[in-house]
Symmetry: C4
Subunit: 223 residues, 4 copies
């Protein structure tokens, strides 16, 4: 895989389309969130969303090309997202082809609600089958929750450790911050985000009903 202009142009165009779609759903409001895709592996080149841009209006030519130290290698004037180091860590540790990070209302709520347990267990939903390598709804997905921090190198270390401890995880939450997921391709990463956002919303809304004493037949219900 080489860093040809065509490939970079295609990826950035697709990243802009995903950004617009997620912004429309309210998952990237106020310039929050960020998106990346691998353009080349050796040496590593990532197409990365710039810092401080409205994701509903992100254009392909605003995406930056960065190296494995999050330095810009193209002649752009932009500033890559502060969280580029997290993207790079995920790309390396999971061999991911794309990384997406969303701030939704429900992922924010659940990232705090379940923080004392260190993560959220999601199980028994058909929707889980959309996660790569999950063949059945009888799957238990552990979504780790990591304390938020502004120290990016330190946070990248914690992310790396968490990825290592939970090798089967398809994503993680930063507390009161947001969701990270990834995939072999951008399409797969988008699929993973949509699935995890859906399930977090379903669990959040279910907890409202269940906590009022509604009987449930399953033993593996959340909470």
């Amino acid at each position: 895989m080489s860093d040809t202009p065509d490939t970079f142009a295609e990826l950035t165009s697709k990243l802009a389309t995903v950004a617009k779609s997620f912004h429309g759903r309210g998952w990237l409001l106020g310039t929050s969130g960020n998106l990346s895709a691998v353009v080349a592996r050796e040496p590593l080149r990532l197409a990365m969303s710039p810092s401080g841009i409205d994701k509903g209006e992100l254009t392909a030519d605003q995406l930056l090309s960065i190296d494995e130290n999050a330095r810009i290698v193209s002649d752009h004037n932009g500033k890559p997202s502060d969280e580029s180091l997290l993207h790079i860590r995920i790309v390396k540790d999971r061999n991911a082809g794309a990384v997406l990070h969303t701030h939704s209302v429900w992922n924010t709520i659940l990232s705090d609600l379940y923080a004392p347990e260190g993560g959220v267990t999601i199980e028994g939903y058909e929707m889980l089958k959309g996660l790569q390598g999950v063949p059945t709804h009888e799957h238990s997905e552990w979504l780790p929750i990591i304390e938020n921090s502004q120290d990016m190198p330190a946070l990248a270390e914690v992310v790396g450790r968490t990825l290592n401890e939970h090798k089967a995880a398809h994503g993680f939450l930063l507390r009161r911050h947001g969701l990270y997921s990834w995939g072999e391709t951008l399409a797969q990463a988008k699929r993973h985000i949509e699935i995890l956002e859906f399930l977090l919303e379903a669990m959040g809304r279910t907890s409202l009903i269940k906590r009022q004493g509604v009987k449930y037949g399953r033993s593996n219900d959340p909470q």
Copy 2:
């Protein structure tokens, strides 16, 4: 009705439009859900959505033509949805012209909440009149809930039995999985999905309010 290219092209174009609309509403996130329409009856030919495709980007030419055993009869390379056998069963048992299957947050929640009762009763809503053959809001719709399974031939059998037991049902829920509905035409199937999704959301939200002890004047309120 013959399998002419025009008819197939029209149906697949309409299926792609429905997919885009439902994906926009969050009912087909993460490649979940599937859609089909009958192209010919003798022998049976179904236009069926492929497995693993983003429904917000589904194009007409990605729809597959399958036979009554869910085998591809066109020269496509795609893989028909795993749940094709359920679509075929519904088409045969209900003489349906189209079958739609959605994963919404509210249908997921209610499919689990009401599972111990075996189904959900929806009654007294004007919206019910939009279901084919229902002349008044004073109608009681029983939406059966079927346990989820990955064994598609076995699940198709249970679906067939359920359809036979509940001949008036306009849809059913798979537990923690999603909603199936159908119609004589694709337009009717779309109408049925929109109505059932609306009513499940209304009932889910009502249950939040009612369970907190609000008095109600009707005896036929849900729950």
Copy 3:
């Protein structure tokens, strides 16, 4: 005001635009709801949405021209909405130029929740100022609730009586059915629907929080 083709064409085009917008918000799902606008007063001619059409795909040329008895006066083959008699009654009693009827999840819930009281009081919201003739948020709007019925002539009588009893009302609810509002113009009717839908959602969501014992400083809070 004469029934010129231009005027009819403009009105039907605007009605189709409103229908598409409201369907997008989930207020006209599954062919529910209906829309009308006055084309001429003497004799009365209404542009009326047809029965059984998907409002997200309603086109201007599908709108029907009907007289004061809800009979089609154009050469269309369509069937006017069953609820045309209600529209005609409102047009006559309120001298309205347009009537809109929506089925939203929140108006459905509140139409049932407040039915024992015969209506909903909405007061103290700035949003109320958008209702025609309301100069301040210190306004108390009574939204009457009428029992649903399939006997349209009888229901039209009850609607007429209700409009007469509550001359200041800008709309009413049919129980477990939906919201009616109107305006001198279509733009005003659209504004009234958006305002009432907003306020019903705000009140419905507020009731969830308040019923859990949160303290409030106002004495005129809903419920």
Copy 4:
């Protein structure tokens, strides 16, 4: 900075785009809310949204040019928003380049819920970093709540006093009315609105869950 036609045309075009986006999210329903941007400082010229216009259909040429007394200085026939005096006060006191005012369901609810405390504290969310000058999620944002009034000169005085008392605030709520925020540029003002709307929704939904006795690990949780 001079009042050149180009600049005015660009600003009004951008204001119309923001209005359409926010109307789509349900934050400017029923002609509610208003938007402005500074065209020139000496003398002050504001591009201001007109009163009574559907924000989903607002066009650039409908924006009015007003002076520091909210008088129209262009040859428009429109009427500037009643709340122009509030915009002018904010522009002067905060040296803002744009002011946006939204009516969302969640800002309406929280503006009433927290009114007895005089404001809402929002803290510990990553999303806060999107507010200008906030470097970390470990930030405590105080969003003052002002009693609603129809006396605009008096309300402008209270707004001025509030801005003076809370110099770090990025916005304020009018009780049962809506949210005001602003920025050096229109893009920054839009970002601030999206962030504050997101956080108010997250806090409103969290309060539903927390009030049912879910344990939390943080001491600075809302309420």
